[in-house]
């Protein structure tokens, strides 16, 4: 039996429709599950000059990830009969003692990379703010516990808190 021309065209049309549906479904699945939509968006955005510049800048920024600074608020506790009432703690000696304990525990290289510096120190309250780079947070706190004496007097350095800006750190300190 030979099929007539109308049935052949109908079959061809049906197979074409099926193929088209299959292609659409596969494209939809690829876009959905392989996160190509994001790339497509990026490519379309990259076609304009401004967007291209922004894209390049974003990649450059991602490469040179900026290390954030943090501010640690601390207090120095001095108790005991051995302390002279006229005794006052110098800012440089406090900074030196903290840096020395850090160097003893983690070495000179880590000390230079941590960026420790005493930003503020109130001699009356014995409270201060220490600036450092965020990844060295636990190291700095450990080093504070390692400080035994400052200027020949036994002390405890107590970490009170950490903040992201100096302004907030100072406001916390005054509370």
């Amino acid at each position: 039996m030979v099929p007539d021309s109308t049935s052949i065209t109908a079959l061809v049309f049906l197979s074409l429709v099926l193929a088209l549906v299959a292609i659409l479904v596969s494209i939809f699945l690829i876009v959905r599950y392989m996160s190509i939509a994001k790339h497509l968006k990026l490519i379309s955005e990259a076609l304009s000059g401004k967007a291209l510049k922004r894209f390049v800048k974003a990649i450059e920024e991602r490469k040179s990830k900026k290390i954030r600074k943090r501010y640690l608020i601390f207090e120095i506790l001095i108790y005991g009969n051995e302390v002279n009432p006229q005794y006052s703690m110098e800012r440089a000696k406090v900074e030196g003692a903290i840096k020395e304990s850090f160097r003893e525990l983690f070495g000179s290289l880590a000390l230079s990379r941590s960026g420790i510096s005493l930003v503020y120190f109130n001699v009356k309250d014995m409270k201060g703010v220490l600036r450092f780079k965020a990844p060295y947070r636990t190291k700095i706190i450990t080093a504070l516990g390692y400080v035994k004496e400052i200027n020949g007097v036994r002390v405890i350095v107590v970490p009170l808190g950490i903040s992201g800006t100096l302004k907030k750190a100072l406001s916390k300190l005054r509370k």
Partner: protein
């Protein structure tokens, strides 16, 4: 406070309160005390099991390990001591076999941060501590960290203890547990109740 401290408790209580402590276990106390909102619990640390057996019920009994030979009578320790404490010397215990014995005990292990500082100054590399930390990380044993102070100015802030443990390689969660929930569990066992 450990190892026969003779410090006046008023001073200790003031500093402990400032550092955020609520309960302290002090060597040489006959009964519990509440000073400046800090509860002081009597504690007895010894490497002699017979001595620990004579101690009153509400005292924290701690078995002190100075050398690997102290672990010989370890099966007798169960039910006597509430926890095991590693001294400065024991932090350098060499073989993992000793750590295995500690695990078999099923008691929490106490490590004093001051002892670690001291041992680090003397030796540098602490094998025993290294083995212990890897065992703690595998979840086989519970770690308790304390400041190990013998004077009031040797107390450490809990944040300092946690940071030191993290720097030594302990996971942040386990480090936090070592200062908070693990000691609270031991104290609850002494019928004081965690505050």
């Amino acid at each position: 406070m450990r190892y026969g401290s003779t410090e006046k408790l008023d001073k200790v209580a003031l500093i402990a309160k400032k550092l955020g402590y609520r309960i302290m276990c002090v060597e040489g106390l006959s009964k519990s005390l509440l000073l400046s909102d800090v509860l002081f619990i009597p504690r007895k640390t010894s490497s002699d099991i017979n001595e620990l057996l004579k101690i009153k019920r509400n005292t924290l009994k701690v078995y002190l390990i100075n050398s690997p030979s102290d672990l010989k009578s370890y099966p007798r320790l169960r039910g006597v001591a509430a926890l095991v404490c590693l001294s400065c010397k024991a932090l350098n215990v060499r073989t993992p076999k000793h750590v295995e014995r500690l695990v078999a005990l099923g008691l929490p292990i106490e490590v004093a941060i001051r002892d670690i500082y001291k041992a680090l100054k003397e030796r540098g590399y602490l094998r025993g501590l290294d083995h212990l930390i890897s065992t703690v990380e595998s979840g086989k044993v519970e770690l308790i960290a304390c400041s190990g102070a013998s004077k009031h100015l040797e107390l450490l802030h809990p944040k300092v203890i946690i940071s030191t443990l993290i720097e030594l390689g302990v996971d942040e969660v386990n480090a936090l547990k070592a200062v908070t929930s693990a000691p609270a569990k031991v104290i609850r066992g002494l019928e004081y109740g965690a505050r």
